[in-house]
Protein backbone atom coordinates (compact mmCIF):
# COMPACT_ATOMS: atom_id res chain seq x y z
CA UNK A 1 0.00 0.00 0.00
CA UNK A 2 2.87 2.37 0.65
CA UNK A 3 3.46 2.61 -3.10
CA UNK A 4 0.20 4.53 -3.29
CA UNK A 5 1.35 6.99 -0.65
CA UNK A 6 4.65 7.42 -2.49
CA UNK A 7 2.66 7.95 -5.66
CA UNK A 8 0.48 10.50 -3.89
CA UNK A 9 3.54 12.29 -2.51
CA UNK A 10 5.04 12.31 -6.01
CA UNK A 11 1.76 13.67 -7.38
CA UNK A 12 1.69 16.48 -4.83
CA UNK A 13 5.24 17.50 -5.71
CA UNK A 14 4.31 17.54 -9.40
CA UNK A 15 1.26 19.72 -8.66
CA UNK A 16 3.42 22.09 -6.62
CA UNK A 17 5.95 22.37 -9.44
CA UNK A 18 3.14 23.00 -11.96
CA UNK A 19 1.65 25.67 -9.73
CA UNK A 20 5.01 27.45 -9.53
CA UNK A 21 5.43 27.27 -13.32
CA UNK A 22 1.94 28.70 -13.88
CA UNK A 23 2.64 31.38 -11.26
CA UNK A 24 5.72 32.41 -13.25
CA UNK A 25 3.43 32.43 -16.28
CA UNK A 26 1.03 34.77 -14.49
CA UNK A 27 3.81 37.18 -13.75
CA UNK A 28 5.76 37.17 -16.98
CA UNK A 29 3.27 36.60 -19.83
CA UNK A 30 2.81 39.64 -22.04
CA UNK A 31 -0.83 38.89 -22.98
CA UNK A 32 -2.93 39.74 -19.93
CA UNK A 33 -5.65 37.22 -20.82
CA UNK A 34 -3.10 34.40 -20.86
CA UNK A 35 -1.79 35.45 -17.46
CA UNK A 36 -5.34 35.50 -16.10
CA UNK A 37 -5.82 31.91 -17.34
CA UNK A 38 -2.53 30.92 -15.73
CA UNK A 39 -3.89 32.39 -12.51
CA UNK A 40 -6.94 30.12 -12.88
CA UNK A 41 -4.56 27.17 -13.25
CA UNK A 42 -2.65 28.30 -10.13
CA UNK A 43 -5.90 28.52 -8.16
CA UNK A 44 -6.98 25.03 -9.20
CA UNK A 45 -3.47 23.81 -8.36
CA UNK A 46 -3.63 25.29 -4.85
CA UNK A 47 -7.06 23.66 -4.45
CA UNK A 48 -5.45 20.27 -5.13
CA UNK A 49 -2.70 21.11 -2.59
CA UNK A 50 -5.45 21.79 -0.05
CA UNK A 51 -6.91 18.37 -0.90
CA UNK A 52 -3.51 16.86 -0.18
CA UNK A 53 -3.58 18.63 3.20
CA UNK A 54 -6.98 17.02 3.92
CA UNK A 55 -8.76 20.41 3.84
CA UNK A 56 -11.38 19.47 1.26
CA UNK A 57 -13.97 22.02 2.39
CA UNK A 58 -11.54 24.89 1.82
CA UNK A 59 -10.53 23.34 -1.54
CA UNK A 60 -14.16 23.30 -2.69
CA UNK A 61 -14.70 26.86 -1.43
CA UNK A 62 -11.51 27.98 -3.15
CA UNK A 63 -12.68 26.59 -6.48
CA UNK A 64 -16.20 27.94 -6.00
CA UNK A 65 -15.21 31.47 -4.91
CA UNK A 66 -11.89 32.00 -6.63
CA UNK A 67 -12.15 30.14 -9.90
CA UNK A 68 -15.88 30.60 -10.25
CA UNK A 69 -16.32 34.24 -9.24
CA UNK A 70 -13.03 36.15 -8.82
CA UNK A 71 -11.62 34.82 -12.09
CA UNK A 72 -14.77 35.85 -13.92
CA UNK A 73 -14.47 39.30 -12.34
CA UNK A 74 -10.85 39.61 -13.48
CA UNK A 75 -11.65 38.39 -16.99
CA UNK A 76 -14.57 40.82 -17.27
CA UNK A 77 -12.23 43.63 -16.22
CA UNK A 78 -9.61 42.52 -18.76
CA UNK A 79 -12.19 42.38 -21.52
CA UNK A 80 -13.56 45.81 -20.67
CA UNK A 81 -10.20 47.54 -20.51
CA UNK A 82 -8.07 45.84 -23.15
CA UNK A 83 -8.47 46.68 -26.81
CA UNK A 84 -9.29 43.45 -28.62
CA UNK A 85 -6.20 42.13 -30.34
CA UNK A 86 -4.04 45.27 -30.25
CA UNK A 87 -0.25 44.85 -30.16
CA UNK A 88 0.73 43.98 -26.59
CA UNK A 89 3.10 46.74 -25.53
CA UNK A 90 5.86 46.27 -22.96
CA UNK A 91 4.31 44.86 -19.81
CA UNK A 92 7.09 45.17 -17.35
CA UNK A 93 8.76 48.32 -16.10
CA UNK A 94 12.46 48.73 -15.57
CA UNK A 95 12.53 47.59 -11.96
CA UNK A 96 12.74 43.88 -12.75
CA UNK A 97 16.52 43.29 -12.16
CA UNK A 98 16.42 45.11 -8.83
CA UNK A 99 13.25 43.26 -7.89
CA UNK A 100 14.77 39.88 -8.72
CA UNK A 101 17.86 40.59 -6.62
CA UNK A 102 15.84 41.74 -3.63
CA UNK A 103 13.53 38.73 -3.88
CA UNK A 104 16.39 36.26 -4.09
CA UNK A 105 17.74 37.68 -0.86
CA UNK A 106 14.27 37.53 0.69
CA UNK A 107 13.77 33.91 -0.42
CA UNK A 108 17.19 32.89 0.84
CA UNK A 109 16.62 34.41 4.25
CA UNK A 110 13.12 33.09 4.82
CA UNK A 111 14.13 29.71 3.39
CA UNK A 112 16.88 29.48 5.98
CA UNK A 113 14.39 30.31 8.70
CA UNK A 114 12.00 27.61 7.46
CA UNK A 115 14.66 24.92 7.30
CA UNK A 116 16.27 25.88 10.63
CA UNK A 117 13.30 26.12 13.01
CA UNK A 118 12.07 22.84 14.56
CA UNK A 119 8.33 23.05 13.69
CA UNK A 120 6.21 21.58 16.55
CA UNK A 121 4.59 18.91 14.31
CA UNK A 122 2.63 16.89 16.86
CA UNK A 123 1.45 13.40 15.99
CA UNK A 124 -1.96 14.12 17.57
CA UNK A 125 -2.56 17.13 15.30
CA UNK A 126 -1.72 15.01 12.24
CA UNK A 127 -4.34 12.48 13.24
CA UNK A 128 -7.27 14.79 13.84
CA UNK A 129 -9.15 15.35 10.60
CA UNK A 130 -11.40 18.41 10.35
CA UNK A 131 -14.87 17.46 9.22
CA UNK A 132 -17.26 19.97 7.73
CA UNK A 133 -19.37 19.53 10.86
CA UNK A 134 -16.59 20.76 13.18
CA UNK A 135 -15.85 23.64 10.81
CA UNK A 136 -19.51 24.69 10.90
CA UNK A 137 -19.64 24.46 14.68
CA UNK A 138 -16.45 26.54 15.03
CA UNK A 139 -17.68 29.09 12.49
CA UNK A 140 -20.98 29.48 14.31
CA UNK A 141 -19.46 28.98 17.75
CA UNK A 142 -16.25 30.77 18.64
CA UNK A 143 -15.90 32.66 15.34
CA UNK A 144 -19.41 33.98 14.95
CA UNK A 145 -18.31 37.61 15.43
CA UNK A 146 -15.73 37.68 12.60
CA UNK A 147 -18.29 35.77 10.48
CA UNK A 148 -20.79 38.63 10.89
CA UNK A 149 -18.13 41.29 10.33
CA UNK A 150 -17.13 39.59 7.07
CA UNK A 151 -20.72 39.65 5.83
CA UNK A 152 -20.94 43.38 6.66
CA UNK A 153 -17.70 44.05 4.79
CA UNK A 154 -18.92 41.97 1.83
CA UNK A 155 -22.07 44.08 1.55
CA UNK A 156 -20.05 47.29 1.84
CA UNK A 157 -17.60 46.14 -0.84
CA UNK A 158 -20.49 45.07 -3.08
CA UNK A 159 -22.19 48.44 -2.90
CA UNK A 160 -18.89 50.31 -3.14
CA UNK A 161 -17.84 48.43 -6.27
CA UNK A 162 -21.16 49.11 -7.94
CA UNK A 163 -21.08 52.82 -7.07
CA UNK A 164 -17.49 53.21 -8.31
CA UNK A 165 -17.91 51.30 -11.54
CA UNK A 166 -21.33 52.69 -12.43
CA UNK A 167 -21.30 55.30 -15.17
CA UNK A 168 -22.96 58.34 -13.49
CA UNK A 169 -25.65 59.65 -15.81
CA UNK A 170 -24.46 63.22 -16.40
CA UNK A 171 -20.97 62.14 -17.46
CA UNK A 172 -20.62 62.67 -21.22
CA UNK A 173 -18.40 59.79 -22.44
Amino acid sequence: MEILTIGAKFGVYIVMALVLVFALGVVTLRNLFHSALCLAAVLVGTATVYLALRADFVAAIQILVYVGAVMTLIIFAIMLTEHLGEKTIRQTNRQSPAAILGLLGFIFMIGLVILRTPWPVTKRALATGTSVMSLGKALMGSYVFPFEIISVILIAALIGAVVIAKKDPEEKS
Binding site: L4, F33, D56, A60, I63, L64, T72, I75, V132
Partner: protein, 395 residues
Amino acid sequence: MTMPGWLRSIEFAVDLSFVNAKGWFLDLLGKFLPGWIVVLTSIVISGVVILCMGPIIMMYLTLLERKLIGRIQNRYGPNRVGIWGLLQPIADGIKMFTKEDIVPANADKLIHLLAPIVIVIPALMVFLVVPFGERMTAANLNIGILYFIAVSSITTIPIFMGSWASRNKYSLLGGMRTAAQMISYEIPMTLSVVPVIMMSQSLSTNTIVMTQCGDVDLHWFVFTPWGLTGFMIFFLCAVAECNRPPFDLPEAESELVAGFHTEYSGMKFALFYMAEYMNAFTLCGIATTLFLGGWQGPFLPSWLWFFGKTFLLICVMIWFRGTFPRFRVDQLMGFAWKFLLPLTLINILVAGLWQFVPERTAWLYSVPILIVSLWTLVKLNRHFVPEKRAYPLAD
Protein backbone atom coordinates in the same frame (compact mmCIF):
# COMPACT_ATOMS: atom_id res chain seq x y z
CA MET B 1 -46.36 -4.20 3.60
CA THR B 2 -43.30 -6.38 4.05
CA MET B 3 -42.14 -8.10 0.90
CA PRO B 4 -41.75 -11.90 1.04
CA GLY B 5 -38.19 -12.94 1.89
CA TRP B 6 -37.24 -14.54 -1.41
CA LEU B 7 -38.54 -11.58 -3.45
CA ARG B 8 -36.44 -9.23 -1.31
CA SER B 9 -33.30 -11.26 -1.86
CA ILE B 10 -33.86 -11.30 -5.63
CA GLU B 11 -34.48 -7.59 -5.67
CA PHE B 12 -31.36 -7.13 -3.56
CA ALA B 13 -29.28 -9.30 -5.89
CA VAL B 14 -30.45 -7.50 -9.01
CA ASP B 15 -30.05 -4.17 -7.29
CA LEU B 16 -26.42 -4.73 -6.40
CA SER B 17 -25.57 -6.74 -9.51
CA PHE B 18 -23.06 -4.19 -10.71
CA VAL B 19 -21.49 -3.69 -7.31
CA ASN B 20 -21.19 -7.45 -6.78
CA ALA B 21 -19.70 -7.92 -10.24
CA LYS B 22 -17.02 -5.36 -9.50
CA GLY B 23 -16.38 -6.86 -6.06
CA TRP B 24 -16.10 -10.37 -7.51
CA PHE B 25 -13.66 -9.16 -10.18
CA LEU B 26 -11.54 -7.36 -7.61
CA ASP B 27 -11.40 -10.44 -5.36
CA LEU B 28 -10.37 -12.50 -8.35
CA LEU B 29 -7.63 -9.96 -9.08
CA GLY B 30 -6.66 -9.86 -5.42
CA LYS B 31 -5.67 -13.54 -5.54
CA PHE B 32 -2.89 -12.89 -8.05
CA LEU B 33 -1.76 -9.28 -7.77
CA PRO B 34 -0.50 -7.32 -4.72
CA GLY B 35 -2.93 -5.20 -2.73
CA TRP B 36 -2.25 -1.77 -4.07
CA ILE B 37 -2.89 -2.85 -7.68
CA VAL B 38 -6.36 -4.00 -6.64
CA VAL B 39 -7.09 -0.58 -5.14
CA LEU B 40 -5.77 1.06 -8.28
CA THR B 41 -7.88 -1.15 -10.56
CA SER B 42 -11.04 -0.39 -8.60
CA ILE B 43 -10.38 3.31 -9.16
CA VAL B 44 -9.60 2.67 -12.82
CA ILE B 45 -12.76 0.59 -13.27
CA SER B 46 -15.09 3.29 -11.96
CA GLY B 47 -13.11 5.88 -13.97
CA VAL B 48 -13.43 3.88 -17.18
CA VAL B 49 -17.15 3.25 -16.57
CA ILE B 50 -17.74 6.98 -16.15
CA LEU B 51 -15.63 7.92 -19.18
CA CYS B 52 -17.54 5.45 -21.34
CA MET B 53 -20.97 6.15 -19.88
CA GLY B 54 -20.69 9.94 -20.21
CA PRO B 55 -20.36 10.17 -24.00
CA ILE B 56 -22.78 7.30 -24.63
CA ILE B 57 -25.42 9.02 -22.50
CA MET B 58 -24.71 12.26 -24.31
CA MET B 59 -25.11 10.60 -27.73
CA TYR B 60 -28.44 9.03 -26.90
CA LEU B 61 -29.63 12.22 -25.21
CA THR B 62 -29.28 14.03 -28.53
CA LEU B 63 -31.32 11.30 -30.22
CA LEU B 64 -33.96 11.37 -27.47
CA GLU B 65 -34.18 15.14 -27.79
CA ARG B 66 -34.62 15.11 -31.57
CA LYS B 67 -37.22 12.35 -31.32
CA LEU B 68 -39.26 14.11 -28.62
CA ILE B 69 -39.05 17.53 -30.28
CA GLY B 70 -40.16 15.84 -33.52
CA ARG B 71 -43.11 14.17 -31.87
CA ILE B 72 -44.12 17.44 -30.19
CA GLN B 73 -44.10 19.11 -33.61
CA ASN B 74 -46.16 16.29 -35.09
CA ARG B 75 -43.39 14.74 -37.19
CA TYR B 76 -41.09 11.72 -36.82
CA GLY B 77 -37.68 12.22 -35.32
CA PRO B 78 -34.67 10.72 -37.12
CA ASN B 79 -35.67 7.22 -38.23
CA ARG B 80 -33.46 6.61 -41.27
CA VAL B 81 -30.18 5.48 -39.69
CA GLY B 82 -30.85 2.12 -38.06
CA ILE B 83 -34.29 1.07 -36.84
CA TRP B 84 -36.08 4.05 -35.22
CA GLY B 85 -32.89 6.07 -35.83
CA LEU B 86 -30.89 4.31 -33.11
CA LEU B 87 -27.64 4.63 -35.06
CA GLN B 88 -28.22 8.37 -35.66
CA PRO B 89 -25.85 9.46 -32.85
CA ILE B 90 -23.07 7.36 -34.37
CA ALA B 91 -23.74 8.99 -37.73
CA ASP B 92 -23.59 12.40 -36.02
CA GLY B 93 -20.36 11.39 -34.34
CA ILE B 94 -18.74 10.39 -37.62
CA LYS B 95 -19.98 13.61 -39.20
CA MET B 96 -18.42 15.59 -36.35
CA PHE B 97 -15.12 13.69 -36.73
CA THR B 98 -14.85 14.17 -40.45
CA LYS B 99 -15.94 17.81 -40.56
CA GLU B 100 -13.09 20.21 -41.23
CA ASP B 101 -11.89 22.02 -38.12
CA ILE B 102 -11.75 25.71 -39.13
CA VAL B 103 -9.68 28.02 -36.92
CA PRO B 104 -10.20 31.75 -37.53
CA ALA B 105 -7.18 33.53 -39.01
CA ASN B 106 -6.13 35.81 -36.17
CA ALA B 107 -7.64 33.62 -33.45
CA ASP B 108 -5.61 32.86 -30.38
CA LYS B 109 -4.64 29.33 -31.50
CA LEU B 110 -3.71 27.85 -28.12
CA ILE B 111 -6.72 29.16 -26.20
CA HIS B 112 -9.00 28.31 -29.12
CA LEU B 113 -7.86 24.71 -28.81
CA LEU B 114 -7.89 24.68 -25.01
CA ALA B 115 -11.44 25.97 -24.52
CA PRO B 116 -13.39 22.85 -25.57
CA ILE B 117 -11.03 20.64 -23.55
CA VAL B 118 -11.42 22.71 -20.40
CA ILE B 119 -15.21 22.73 -20.74
CA VAL B 120 -15.45 18.93 -20.97
CA ILE B 121 -13.30 18.25 -17.90
CA PRO B 122 -15.73 19.69 -15.28
CA ALA B 123 -18.64 18.08 -17.16
CA LEU B 124 -16.96 14.69 -16.66
CA MET B 125 -15.66 15.42 -13.15
CA VAL B 126 -19.17 15.96 -11.84
CA PHE B 127 -20.05 12.30 -12.54
CA LEU B 128 -17.80 11.45 -9.59
CA VAL B 129 -20.42 12.55 -7.09
CA VAL B 130 -23.70 11.45 -8.75
CA PRO B 131 -25.13 8.41 -6.84
CA PHE B 132 -26.34 6.08 -9.62
CA GLY B 133 -27.58 3.40 -7.25
CA GLU B 134 -27.12 1.80 -3.86
CA ARG B 135 -23.38 1.86 -3.14
CA MET B 136 -22.84 2.92 -6.79
CA THR B 137 -21.39 6.37 -6.23
CA ALA B 138 -17.97 6.69 -7.86
CA ALA B 139 -16.42 8.48 -4.85
CA ASN B 140 -18.32 8.97 -1.63
CA LEU B 141 -16.92 12.42 -0.79
CA ASN B 142 -18.22 13.87 2.44
CA ILE B 143 -18.47 17.27 0.66
CA GLY B 144 -20.42 15.78 -2.28
CA ILE B 145 -22.85 18.58 -3.08
CA LEU B 146 -20.28 21.34 -2.46
CA TYR B 147 -17.90 19.55 -4.84
CA PHE B 148 -20.69 19.44 -7.44
CA ILE B 149 -21.44 23.17 -7.10
CA ALA B 150 -17.75 24.11 -7.15
CA VAL B 151 -16.97 22.04 -10.25
CA SER B 152 -20.06 23.22 -12.12
CA SER B 153 -19.03 26.82 -11.42
CA ILE B 154 -15.77 26.30 -13.32
CA THR B 155 -17.59 26.23 -16.67
CA THR B 156 -17.58 30.04 -16.95
CA ILE B 157 -13.81 30.09 -17.59
CA PRO B 158 -13.82 27.96 -20.79
CA ILE B 159 -16.76 29.95 -22.08
CA PHE B 160 -14.66 33.10 -21.74
CA MET B 161 -11.71 31.34 -23.33
CA GLY B 162 -13.82 30.18 -26.25
CA SER B 163 -15.42 33.56 -26.91
CA TRP B 164 -12.24 35.64 -26.40
CA ALA B 165 -9.98 33.41 -28.43
CA SER B 166 -12.14 33.35 -31.54
CA ARG B 167 -11.71 37.16 -31.92
CA ASN B 168 -15.30 37.53 -33.10
CA LYS B 169 -17.69 40.22 -31.92
CA TYR B 170 -20.69 37.90 -31.79
CA SER B 171 -18.93 35.15 -29.89
CA LEU B 172 -17.57 37.73 -27.44
CA LEU B 173 -21.09 39.11 -26.90
CA GLY B 174 -22.45 35.60 -26.54
CA GLY B 175 -19.65 34.66 -24.15
CA MET B 176 -20.26 37.67 -21.93
CA ARG B 177 -23.98 37.01 -21.84
CA THR B 178 -23.51 33.31 -21.09
CA ALA B 179 -21.11 34.05 -18.24
CA ALA B 180 -23.44 36.68 -16.78
CA GLN B 181 -26.37 34.26 -17.02
CA MET B 182 -24.48 31.34 -15.49
CA ILE B 183 -23.29 33.39 -12.54
CA SER B 184 -26.66 34.91 -11.82
CA TYR B 185 -28.33 31.46 -11.94
CA GLU B 186 -25.60 29.80 -9.89
CA ILE B 187 -26.54 31.72 -6.75
CA PRO B 188 -30.21 30.65 -6.58
CA MET B 189 -29.11 27.09 -7.45
CA THR B 190 -26.62 27.00 -4.58
CA LEU B 191 -29.09 28.53 -2.14
CA SER B 192 -31.89 26.18 -3.18
CA VAL B 193 -29.64 23.25 -2.16
CA VAL B 194 -29.21 24.66 1.38
CA PRO B 195 -32.59 23.41 2.76
CA VAL B 196 -31.77 19.88 1.60
CA ILE B 197 -28.41 20.03 3.37
CA MET B 198 -30.06 21.40 6.50
CA MET B 199 -32.53 18.53 6.55
CA SER B 200 -30.07 15.74 5.84
CA GLN B 201 -27.36 17.15 8.14
CA SER B 202 -24.59 16.38 5.65
CA LEU B 203 -23.17 17.39 2.31
CA SER B 204 -22.50 13.90 1.01
CA THR B 205 -24.92 12.82 -1.69
CA ASN B 206 -25.26 9.30 -0.27
CA THR B 207 -26.49 10.47 3.13
CA ILE B 208 -28.86 12.88 1.40
CA VAL B 209 -30.41 9.97 -0.48
CA MET B 210 -30.46 7.80 2.64
CA THR B 211 -32.41 10.43 4.59
CA GLN B 212 -35.11 10.26 1.92
CA CYS B 213 -35.51 6.50 2.23
CA GLY B 214 -38.75 4.71 3.14
CA ASP B 215 -39.83 1.52 1.44
CA VAL B 216 -43.34 2.42 0.33
CA ASP B 217 -44.17 5.56 2.31
CA LEU B 218 -41.66 7.72 0.46
CA HIS B 219 -39.99 10.53 2.43
CA TRP B 220 -38.76 12.32 -0.67
CA PHE B 221 -37.97 15.96 -0.03
CA VAL B 222 -40.18 16.99 -2.94
CA PHE B 223 -43.28 16.07 -0.90
CA THR B 224 -42.63 18.89 1.59
CA PRO B 225 -43.59 22.50 0.77
CA TRP B 226 -40.03 23.84 1.02
CA GLY B 227 -38.84 20.78 -0.94
CA LEU B 228 -41.24 21.45 -3.80
CA THR B 229 -40.26 25.13 -4.12
CA GLY B 230 -36.60 24.16 -3.76
CA PHE B 231 -37.00 21.56 -6.50
CA MET B 232 -38.72 24.06 -8.81
CA ILE B 233 -36.00 26.65 -8.27
CA PHE B 234 -33.21 24.09 -8.63
CA PHE B 235 -34.70 22.70 -11.83
CA LEU B 236 -35.17 26.17 -13.37
CA CYS B 237 -31.59 27.07 -12.47
CA ALA B 238 -30.43 23.74 -13.91
CA VAL B 239 -32.18 24.53 -17.21
CA ALA B 240 -30.54 27.97 -17.18
CA GLU B 241 -27.14 26.59 -16.13
CA CYS B 242 -26.79 24.36 -19.16
CA ASN B 243 -28.06 27.05 -21.53
CA ARG B 244 -31.15 25.17 -22.65
CA PRO B 245 -34.30 26.93 -23.90
CA PRO B 246 -36.11 28.98 -22.68
CA PHE B 247 -32.88 30.33 -21.16
CA ASP B 248 -30.72 29.84 -24.25
CA LEU B 249 -30.44 33.49 -25.25
CA PRO B 250 -26.60 33.51 -25.39
CA GLU B 251 -26.48 30.93 -28.14
CA ALA B 252 -29.70 31.91 -29.81
CA GLU B 253 -29.42 31.22 -33.49
CA SER B 254 -31.49 34.26 -34.37
CA GLU B 255 -29.35 36.83 -32.57
CA LEU B 256 -25.82 35.65 -31.91
CA VAL B 257 -25.41 32.96 -34.57
CA ALA B 258 -24.22 30.39 -32.02
CA GLY B 259 -22.96 32.43 -29.14
CA PHE B 260 -19.53 31.61 -27.86
CA HIS B 261 -19.03 28.54 -30.04
CA THR B 262 -19.62 30.37 -33.34
CA GLU B 263 -16.09 29.87 -34.59
CA TYR B 264 -15.93 26.21 -33.69
CA SER B 265 -16.53 23.36 -36.08
CA GLY B 266 -15.79 19.68 -36.32
CA MET B 267 -14.48 17.90 -33.28
CA LYS B 268 -14.14 21.03 -31.12
CA PHE B 269 -17.79 21.87 -31.59
CA ALA B 270 -18.65 18.26 -30.76
CA LEU B 271 -16.84 18.68 -27.43
CA PHE B 272 -18.85 21.83 -26.62
CA TYR B 273 -21.99 19.96 -27.62
CA MET B 274 -21.03 16.98 -25.47
CA ALA B 275 -20.26 19.16 -22.47
CA GLU B 276 -23.67 20.82 -22.73
CA TYR B 277 -25.57 17.53 -22.81
CA MET B 278 -23.49 15.95 -20.05
CA ASN B 279 -24.16 19.02 -17.92
CA ALA B 280 -27.87 18.54 -18.59
CA PHE B 281 -27.67 14.89 -17.51
CA THR B 282 -25.66 15.51 -14.34
CA LEU B 283 -27.83 18.47 -13.30
CA CYS B 284 -30.94 16.31 -13.70
CA GLY B 285 -29.16 13.51 -11.82
CA ILE B 286 -28.32 15.84 -8.93
CA ALA B 287 -31.88 17.23 -8.96
CA THR B 288 -33.21 13.68 -8.53
CA THR B 289 -30.64 12.97 -5.81
CA LEU B 290 -31.53 16.09 -3.86
CA PHE B 291 -35.29 16.24 -4.19
CA LEU B 292 -36.72 13.10 -5.82
CA GLY B 293 -35.05 10.60 -3.52
CA GLY B 294 -32.19 9.59 -5.85
CA TRP B 295 -32.29 5.81 -6.15
CA GLN B 296 -34.96 5.31 -3.51
CA GLY B 297 -38.00 3.44 -4.76
CA PRO B 298 -40.33 0.62 -3.70
CA PHE B 299 -39.64 -2.42 -5.89
CA LEU B 300 -37.40 -1.90 -8.90
CA PRO B 301 -33.60 -2.07 -8.54
CA SER B 302 -32.08 1.18 -7.32
CA TRP B 303 -30.17 2.16 -10.44
CA LEU B 304 -33.35 1.72 -12.52
CA TRP B 305 -35.10 4.19 -10.23
CA PHE B 306 -32.29 6.69 -10.58
CA PHE B 307 -32.08 6.52 -14.38
CA GLY B 308 -35.88 6.54 -14.67
CA LYS B 309 -36.26 9.72 -12.65
CA THR B 310 -33.31 11.41 -14.36
CA PHE B 311 -34.62 10.66 -17.84
CA LEU B 312 -38.05 11.87 -16.73
CA LEU B 313 -36.46 15.19 -15.76
CA ILE B 314 -34.56 15.31 -19.04
CA CYS B 315 -37.82 14.74 -20.93
CA VAL B 316 -39.28 17.70 -19.01
CA MET B 317 -36.27 19.78 -20.11
CA ILE B 318 -36.90 18.74 -23.71
CA TRP B 319 -40.59 19.48 -23.20
CA PHE B 320 -39.59 23.00 -22.12
CA ARG B 321 -37.60 23.30 -25.32
CA GLY B 322 -40.59 22.34 -27.40
CA THR B 323 -42.87 24.83 -25.70
CA PHE B 324 -41.34 28.06 -24.52
CA PRO B 325 -40.09 31.07 -26.53
CA ARG B 326 -36.77 32.59 -25.56
CA PHE B 327 -36.31 35.03 -22.66
CA ARG B 328 -35.20 38.61 -23.33
CA VAL B 329 -31.85 39.52 -21.68
CA ASP B 330 -33.30 41.74 -18.98
CA GLN B 331 -36.13 39.29 -18.26
CA LEU B 332 -33.50 36.53 -18.03
CA MET B 333 -31.45 38.44 -15.46
CA GLY B 334 -34.43 39.95 -13.67
CA PHE B 335 -35.95 36.49 -13.20
CA ALA B 336 -32.82 35.22 -11.47
CA TRP B 337 -32.07 38.20 -9.24
CA LYS B 338 -35.51 39.58 -8.50
CA PHE B 339 -37.58 36.40 -8.43
CA LEU B 340 -35.55 33.27 -7.74
CA LEU B 341 -33.09 34.71 -5.23
CA PRO B 342 -35.68 36.14 -2.77
CA LEU B 343 -37.73 32.96 -3.16
CA THR B 344 -34.76 30.78 -2.19
CA LEU B 345 -34.03 32.92 0.88
CA ILE B 346 -37.63 32.58 2.01
CA ASN B 347 -37.44 28.88 1.25
CA ILE B 348 -34.39 28.53 3.52
CA LEU B 349 -36.26 30.37 6.28
CA VAL B 350 -39.26 28.05 5.95
CA ALA B 351 -37.05 24.95 5.90
CA GLY B 352 -35.24 26.23 8.98
CA LEU B 353 -38.44 26.64 10.94
CA TRP B 354 -39.59 23.24 9.70
CA GLN B 355 -37.44 21.42 12.23
CA PHE B 356 -38.59 23.12 15.39
CA VAL B 357 -42.32 22.72 14.83
CA PRO B 358 -44.19 19.37 14.84
CA GLU B 359 -45.17 18.01 11.45
CA ARG B 360 -48.81 19.08 11.37
CA THR B 361 -48.34 22.73 12.31
CA ALA B 362 -45.26 22.91 10.14
CA TRP B 363 -47.47 22.39 7.11
CA LEU B 364 -49.95 24.97 8.39
CA TYR B 365 -47.49 27.83 8.51
CA SER B 366 -45.09 26.96 5.67
CA VAL B 367 -47.61 26.61 2.82
CA PRO B 368 -49.22 30.05 3.39
CA ILE B 369 -45.82 31.71 3.80
CA LEU B 370 -44.61 30.29 0.51
CA ILE B 371 -47.80 31.11 -1.36
CA VAL B 372 -47.91 34.68 -0.04
CA SER B 373 -44.24 35.24 -0.87
CA LEU B 374 -44.75 33.78 -4.36
CA TRP B 375 -47.71 36.07 -4.90
CA THR B 376 -45.91 39.20 -3.67
CA LEU B 377 -42.83 38.40 -5.79
CA VAL B 378 -45.03 38.01 -8.84
CA LYS B 379 -46.73 41.30 -8.08
CA LEU B 380 -43.37 43.03 -7.53
CA ASN B 381 -42.01 41.76 -10.83
CA ARG B 382 -44.63 43.63 -12.82
CA HIS B 383 -44.32 43.37 -16.57
CA PHE B 384 -41.31 45.65 -17.11
CA VAL B 385 -41.44 47.69 -20.31
CA PRO B 386 -38.07 49.37 -20.99
CA GLU B 387 -38.52 53.11 -21.41
CA LYS B 388 -38.26 54.48 -24.91
CA ARG B 389 -34.58 54.67 -25.84
CA ALA B 390 -33.32 58.10 -26.93
CA TYR B 391 -31.17 58.19 -30.06
CA PRO B 392 -29.51 61.62 -29.91
CA LEU B 393 -27.51 61.04 -33.08
CA ALA B 394 -30.46 59.77 -35.09
CA ASP B 395 -32.41 63.02 -35.45
